[in-house]
């Protein structure tokens, strides 16, 4: 299942809304960490609650758990990085919907917690890494800096387009192509 390209496409689609506001590497790192912890914790908690949940109630319980985790992490993050968190705070609750979008993957809600944690961490980790990379590239190409440090603005003018949501979409497309090429290459070598 983890080798299935469609599963990873679904994860990429679930982080796309956040890329619109993650303009800096720091804000994308915050969003990535919150996303990873949320997805992993939901995947661990759901199997534990599995016996009490029905097919209809599971998605809503998943959203409520995710919102609780996101709320707590946002509060902590606001205390540590106020400016970076405020710029993305409005979009953070959307991570809760990420877990619903991943619902068809998580059909077996009664899976072992350790297996669920591994699966959640893998899928959440992929989404978080993708989100962080988009943030890094947006800051690098759009502002010419990385984590606030100037890289090349004295030599070249940064491309403003990459700061916009359209630029984020283009970066997402480029990263997806890189992912496809990597899968193709590793597939030929028999690594996956």
């Amino acid at each position: 299942m983890l080798k299935d390209r469609q599963v990873y496409y679904k994860i990429i689609l679930s982080v796309v809304p956040l890329t619109a506001v993650c303009n800096t590497a720091l804000s994308s790192l915050i969003a990535a960490v919150i996303s990873l912890i949320t997805v992993a914790s939901v995947w661990v908690l759901l199997p534990l609650l599995g016996r009490f949940l029905t097919e209809k109630t599971a998605p809503f319980v998943r959203i409520i758990i995710a919102l609780g985790v996101i709320g707590t992490l946002t509060l902590i993050s606001t205390m540590l990085f106020k400016d970076a968190t405020q710029s993305i705070a409005l979009y953070l609750p959307l991570i809760a919907l990420t877990t619903v979008m991943l619902h068809p993957i998580n059909e077996n809600t009664k899976a072992l917690p350790l297996y669920a944690l591994k699966l959640g961490a893998t899928l959440g980790g992929f989404g978080s890494a993708f989100l962080f990379l988009v943030g890094v590239l947006k800051e690098l190409l759009g502002m010419g800096s990385l984590f606030g440090l100037d890289i090349y603005t004295k030599l070249f003018a940064p491309i403003e387009f990459f700061k916009t949501p359209g630029g984020a979409l283009l970066i997402c497309a480029a990263l997806t192509i890189v992912y496809n090429l990597a899968v193709k290459y590793l597939g030929k070598r028999g690594a996956i």
Binding site: I63, G71, A96, T164
Partner: protein, 193 residues
């Protein structure tokens, strides 16, 4: 009239729910395999959902949570209200409008879980354009129209691309994102209006 035109241009072009806020991009990916009629029905369901959820959530967020300084509960309250609205709509349409129920039951759940619905409800509060309840309701309908416009544009572009000889690496999601980026760039050009 001026406010209406501003909201219209903003909702459909410059602040489009898909190309500016990137909410509902996954619906574009799903729309590729659907016939036009189904796509239009889904867009109509989403527009109705945006309208109903804004109608319910905006007063609660603006006039209950904001005065009590409980904004941090906005997301939780929005999700609870949207879920309640959807269950209510399902039951009512099932009982009184079976034809409409047959349309919404197919994709209603997935559309309700779309980030577009929750995102718009949350963003209505922070938007400078939305100064009151009527504007919020109008903007929700306009956002739905904007969603429909982009979906149709995407569908038409995708029909042509589908027939072309594309590499497997680019076909699928990467192409969807590239098309959305180009539409976003084109709509962004209208920002000066």
């Amino acid at each position: 009239m001026k406010i209406f035109i501003t909201l219209l241009i903003s909702g459909i072009f410059t602040n489009n729910i898909i190309t500016h806020s990137l909410l509902g991009v996954e619906e574009l990916e799903k729309s590729k395999t659907k016939p036009v009629i189904t796509l239009l029905k889904d867009c109509a369901v989403l527009t109705a959902l945006l309208f109903v959820s804004t109608a319910i959530t905006y007063p609660v967020l603006r006039w209950v949570l904001a005065p009590l300084k409980l904004e941090y509960l906005s997301a939780l309250v929005c999700v609870a209200l949207i879920c309640a609205v959807i269950f209510g709509v399902y039951e009512l349409t099932k009982r009184f409008l079976p034809k409409i129920y047959s349309i919404i039951k197919e994709n209603g759940n997935m559309l309700a879980c779309s980030p577009a619905v929750l995102g718009l409800c949350l963003m209505n509060l922070g938007s400078e354009l939305i100064t009151g309840y009527p504007q919020a309701l109008l903007y929700s309908v306009i956002s739905g129209i904007g969603f429909t416009v982009v979906s149709l544009m995407f569908y038409m572009i995708n029909q042509r691309i589908y027939e072309s000889n594309l590499s497997d690496t680019v076909r699928g999601l990467p192409m969807t994102l590239i098309i959305a980026a180009i539409i976003s760039l084109a709509f962004g050009g209208l920002a000066g209006i």
